[in-house]
C-alpha cells in the first residue's frame, strides 16, 4: 500500500463567536495555516475533502458548494463527509484513503463548525413525530450511559471533576483553545451547576466556532518535510437501536481500535502509544474510552485517571491540547484530535508538547456513540 503522511496541520483560534470572519473566512484561516505549514503551492493539491456536522447547525445546506472558492476546490474533485461528531476523524481517514489509493498524490482536508450562527442544542433536540418531546441535547443523551458506567464499576464522582480540570489545565498551554480558565481545579468544577445528572456545567464541552485543516501526501512527495506517518487508520459504526448493544462500551469502538493497532503493529497500546488525543466531550468519557480502546481492563479506566496516568506528564497523556472539553467546533473536533496527534509526533505542539512523542493516537466518536474513527501516527516510517 502507498504510505501517506501529514505534512501540514492548520487550525483557527477557537472561540464562542468568531464574528471577525464569515464561514468562508473561518475555513480559509485553517487552510492557509495548513498550506503554509506544508510549504506547498495550490497546484499541488489534487482533491479537497470537507467534513462538518449536520447542516442544520448553521442552516446552510451543502456548504461545501458555496465554499468552493474558499477551500481551493474550484476545478478539483471535492467530497463532503458527514458522520456526526466523529466527522472530523472520518474525514481525515477518507482524505488519507484518497492518497493511499494512488489516484491522488496530495489531498487537502478541512473540517469546521460555526456554531455561533445557530444553536446546536436546539438542532440536536428536535421534536420527533409521534413521541414525547424529551430530547435534551448531546449531554442529555450521553448522561444515562455515564450513569450506568459509574454504577457498573462503582466509580467515585470526583473522577469526572478531575478530567474536566486536567483538560482545562492543558488548554492553558494551548493559545488556540477556546476555554482558558485561570486557576481551574476540581473544586471549581464541582461547584458549577448540574446540567444533566451526573454531568455538571464544567464537565461539559463548550460550543465553539473553528476549523482545522490538514495536508496529506504520498511518500514520494514528501521530500525533506517534517512528516507524521499514518501507521493505521479505520472507521467503524454500529446500529444505534440494535438489540444487544452496550452503549457504555460500544463494540464498534473496540473493533476500530483493534484494527488500527493491528495495522500499526501495536501489541500493548498502553505501553507503545506515547500520547493520545481522544474525543472526550463530557468528562466521564475519558475513563470510558480508556477501557473501550483497550488501554486497560473494564472497570480500570477511572483508576488510571485517578492516579494521573493521563496527565500531560503521565504514563499515557490524554488531550494535551485541552481536548473537546476546551474547544468544540463539532465538525472540526475530530480532526483537531487527529491533527494534534500529528503535531505531537512532528514535535510541533509547542507548550503542550509531550517530550519524545514518537507514536500518537487520534480518536473521534459521534452520533449516539455509534460512529468511530481513529488513527495512529508516527514520527518514523518503519
Amino acid at each position: 500500500m502507498i504510505q501517506a503522511g501529514v505534512i501540514g496541520v492548520g487550525q483557527t483560534k477557537y472561540d464562542a463567536k468568531r464574528r471577525d470572519v464569515s464561514m468562508a473566512g473561518l475555513v480559509r484561516e485553517a487552510i492557509d495555516n495548513a498550506m503554509l505549514a506544508a510549504n506547498l503551492e495550490w497546484d499541488a493539491i489534487d482533491a479537497v475533502i470537507l467534513g462538518k456536522a449536520p447542516d442544520m447547525f448553521e442552516g446552510v445546506i451543502m456548504p461545501e458548494l458555496y465554499l468552493a472558492d474558499a477551500i481551493g476546490a474550484v476545478g478539483k474533485p471535492v467530497l463532503r463527509v458527514h458522520t456526526a461528531g466523529s466527522v472530523g476523524g472520518s474525514t481525515a481517514v477518507i482524505a488519507a484513503s484518497h492518497v493511499c489509493s494512488g489516484q491522488f498524490k496530495t489531498v487537502l482536508t478541512v473540517t469546521f463548525e460555526k456554531q455561533s450562527e445557530s444553536n446546536a442544542t436546539w438542532a440536536l433536540s428536535p421534536r420527533y413525530p409521534y413521541s414525547p418531546h424529551i430530547n435534551a441535547g448531546a449531554g442529555g443523551y450521553f448522561a444515562p450511559f455515564i450513569r450506568e458506567y459509574i454504577r457498573r464499576y462503582e466509580a467515585p464522582e470526583h473522577i469526572g471533576w478531575k478530567v474536566a480540570a486536567k483538560d482545562r489545565q492543558n488548554a492553558l498551554k494551548n493559545p488556540l483553545a477556546h476555554l482558558h480558565i485561570p486557576g481551574i481545579d476540581e473544586k471549581m468544577v464541582s461547584d458549577t451547576p448540574m446540567l444533566w445528572e451526573p454531568l455538571r456545567y464544567l464537565e461539559s464541552c463548550p460550543s465553539s466556532d473553528g476549523a482545522c485543516a490538514m495536508v496529506i501526501t504520498a511518500q514520494d512527495q514528501v521530500g525533506s518535510r517534517n512528516v507524521a506517518w499514518i501507521k493505521g487508520m479505520a472507521v467503524r459504526s454500529e446500529g444505534t437501536l440494535s438489540a444487544g448493544r452496550d452503549e457504555v462500551n460500544p463494540q464498534a469502538g473496540i473493533d476500530c481500535a483493534k484494527d488500527i493497532y493491528n495495522q500499526a503493529g501495536i501489541q500493548n497500546p498502553f505501553n507503545e502509544i506515547d500520547c493520545a488525543e481522544i474525543y472526550v466531550p463530557f468528562s466521564w468519557y475519558e475513563p470510558m474510552w480508556l477501557e473501550n480502546l483497550g488501554f486497560c481492563d473494564l472497570g480500570e479506566g477511572w483508576k488510571l485517571t485517578d492516579k494521573d496516568a493521563t496527565s500531560i506528564d503521565g504514563e499515557l497523556p490524554f488531550n494535551m491540547s485541552g481536548g473537546v472539553l476546551s474547544s468544540n467546533p463539532i465538525g472540526a473536533s475530530g480532526m483537531i484530535r487527529f491533527g494534534e496527534a500529528a503535531l505531537q509526533v512532528m514535535g510541533l505542539a509547542e507548550d503542550h508538547q509531550v517530550e519524545d512523542a514518537k507514536v500518537a493516537m487520534g480518536h473521534a466518536y459521534g452520533g449516539a456513540a455509534q460512529f468511530f474513527a481513529m488513527w495512529i501516527v508516527s514520527s518514523s516510517l518503519d
Partner: protein
C-alpha cells in the same frame, strides 16, 4: 459610541422548517395499536430480538421484523438522567427525569419521562409502569403515556437485560 451607532456585523434570521413525516408500515402498525392503548413490539424472525418502538427491521440481521409481540406497559429503568437546564424549543420545565425505559419482553429501550416519585429515589433497575392519559385523549403517539411511575416490585439487575441470541 451609543448602541445605535455600533456597527452591526450580523443579524438574526429565524428559520422555520415544516416536515411531512411518513410513518412507514412498521411504525403505522405500532401506532395503530398505541391509539388503542396497546404496546405491540415487533420481533426479528431470525435472532428473535424484540424491538419497541419498532423501526421495521432488525439492525443485527437486516431482516424485516414481521412478528407482532404484544407487551405489557411495565418494565424497568435501564438508566436515566435528570435534566436541569431548559432546552430551546422544548416545553417541559426542568428539572425532569429522562429515562431509558426497558419494557418487559423488549430487547431495546426508549426514552420517556419518570414522575410520581421524588427524584432522589429514582434508581437504575427500578420497576416502573406507564401512566396513561384519559382514553378520550389517545392519538397515534407515545404521548398517550404521560410518564412512567414506580411500582412496588423488586429492582431488576440491569446486567440481565443484555440481549443474547439463543
Amino acid at each position: 459610541m451609543s448602541a445605535e451607532d455600533t456597527p452591526k456585523d450580523y443579524s438574526e434570521s429565524p428559520i422555520n422548517l415544516e416536515y411531512f413525516y411518513t410513518a412507514g408500515s412498521a411504525t403505522t402498525r405500532f401506532l395503530n395499536q398505541v391509539k388503542e392503548g396497546n404496546i405491540v413490539g415487533q420481533g426479528c424472525p431470525k435472532c428473535k430480538a424484540v424491538y419497541v418502538p419498532p423501526r421495521g427491521s432488525c439492525p443485527r440481521c437486516g431482516v424485516a421484523t414481521d412478528i407482532e409481540v404484544p407487551l405489557t406497559d411495565k418494565g424497568c429503568i435501564e438508566s436515566f438522567t435528570v435534566v436541569h437546564i431548559p432546552i430551546p424549543g422544548n416545553p417541559i420545565v426542568p428539572p425532569y427525569v429522562c429515562a431509558m425505559i426497558r419494557l418487559d419482553g423488549a430487547n431495546i429501550s426508549f426514552l420517556h419521562l419518570i414522575q410520581d416519585v421524588d427524584i432522589e429515589n429514582i434508581r437504575i433497575g427500578m420497576r416502573i409502569q406507564a401512566v396513561w392519559k384519559p382514553k378520550e385523549e389517545w392519538t397515534h403517539s407515545l404521548e398517550n403515556i404521560k410518564w412512567f411511575a414506580p411500582i412496588d416490585e423488586p429492582d431488576v439487575d440491569v446486567a440481565t437485560l443484555r440481549f443474547q441470541e439463543s
